[in-house]
Symmetry: C2
Subunit: 266 residues, 2 copies
Amino acid sequence: MRIVTWNINSVRLRIDSVIRFLEEEQPDVLCLQETKCLNDQFPAKAFAKAGYEHMAVNGQKAYHGVATVARVPLTDHQPIEFCGMGDARHIAVTLPGGARLHNFYVPAGGDEPDPEKNPKFAHKLAFMEEMTKLFSKKKKEPRIIVGDLNIAPGEHDVWSHKQLLKVVSHTPVETDAMKALIKKGGFTDVARELTTEDEKLYSWWSYRAKDWAASDRGRRLDHIWVSEPLREAALAKGPQALKIHRDVRGWEKPSDHAPVSLDIDL
Amino acid sequence: MRIVTWNINSVRLRIDSVIRFLEEEQPDVLCLQETKCLNDQFPAKAFAKAGYEHMAVNGQKAYHGVATVARVPLTDHQPIEFCGMGDARHIAVTLPGGARLHNFYVPAGGDEPDPEKNPKFAHKLAFMEEMTKLFSKKKKEPRIIVGDLNIAPGEHDVWSHKQLLKVVSHTPVETDAMKALIKKGGFTDVARELTTEDEKLYSWWSYRAKDWAASDRGRRLDHIWVSEPLREAALAKGPQALKIHRDVRGWEKPSDHAPVSLDIDL
DNA sequence: GGGTAACTTG
DNA sequence: CAAGTTACCC
């Protein structure tokens, strides 16, 4: 089973790129974030035509929005509304075999990394707390957590640890919250586990850089985690099972995020 | 000498179409309206590269804006500000041989054809009055008036005289004002003069029509007039000297106006 | 830098 | 329907 997470930054604008990616990589399940459309605007026909007939969509107007599409059946679609904000940042489904797949778009958090001054940052921290509370329960459930979590937890998940310590996405309060969530949920951060501790890993490069590839000032914001019951399966195939599709960031009119994929026997 | 007038509806967006038209039709002078850009945003390099090195530009931000570009020298560039509105709706130049070429974008006039209720319509009528005043003087000057004048004066300058009598662009107060201007300025409306009185002539088709070509609900809003000293030269070459480039309206991502061209020996 | 939306103009 | 702006968000 191949599972992909990709912040697409408007699924309607980039549907052709998405279909191309599906054709080239043949994932079984694709988890999208920042779809930026209402559910009835979601390009369901294009996915169905490409063979991805199973969809769990949680969208809203203009902002955020997640969707999980698959060529295998998805059951028990369940969007959870975190922080009671009325926004569309999560959808869970059950995969064939019983694993529960959670697709997240965690709040970006604004510019100022101070929850007192910046309600967006407070929202981000509250969101992480709710996630932690949720995943501290039923830990024997086979879980896969994917999505744009908007935090690069490790020193080598950013191009410059020093220069980003006060930049939202890599501040200690965020990275600590993420590490606590991983620990309390009993999760394995698959990408980091399958690589050496000091290998630079990025899944996002700003649009603002002149030459994103040359300057390579990236951050690893997009994650695939598994709970304890799936740990062995996730690591069994070795490093080549986890791929960050950096080339896709260089396609025409790209999203600022690259897709991340995992091959796992479920 | 071939002279063209064309409401381009954003010169930056359609610069490729403009260059294609210049290459295909080889006009000597091109008068554009609704350039919709500031002078320093005008794509001067693209024109120069195509051989049109002489430019008289009068633009503003977002709205209106006119430009006259040529592969022959243009002297005495002079924008006139009509109605003291601070908008960019006119530029005059002198052509080799001495004819004065005035390029106009007359106000559209809004929806309601009542100057009491609709200040835009009042502005349009005031603009026509100022034009009339200006061109009632120095009538021995060889003049060419071109542009989007936003009025279809004759019964056969619209697809339905009856249905457009209360529609701005063809109301009696406007068509009368235009006829008075033609008369007082001693102008020849070249397109109408070179065709039979009852031939339908259009230069604009709304974007809103499903199939603009099939329904053919057009209006002749774009004009080329000459003053008395140029009348004979303008008519000398016969009907084929005046052309409405209807095919251009069918190009990819078109303006809603077609170019209108005149061949005249100056 | 690049999405979406609401607004204004034609 | 299709330009342009501004505002918001990432």
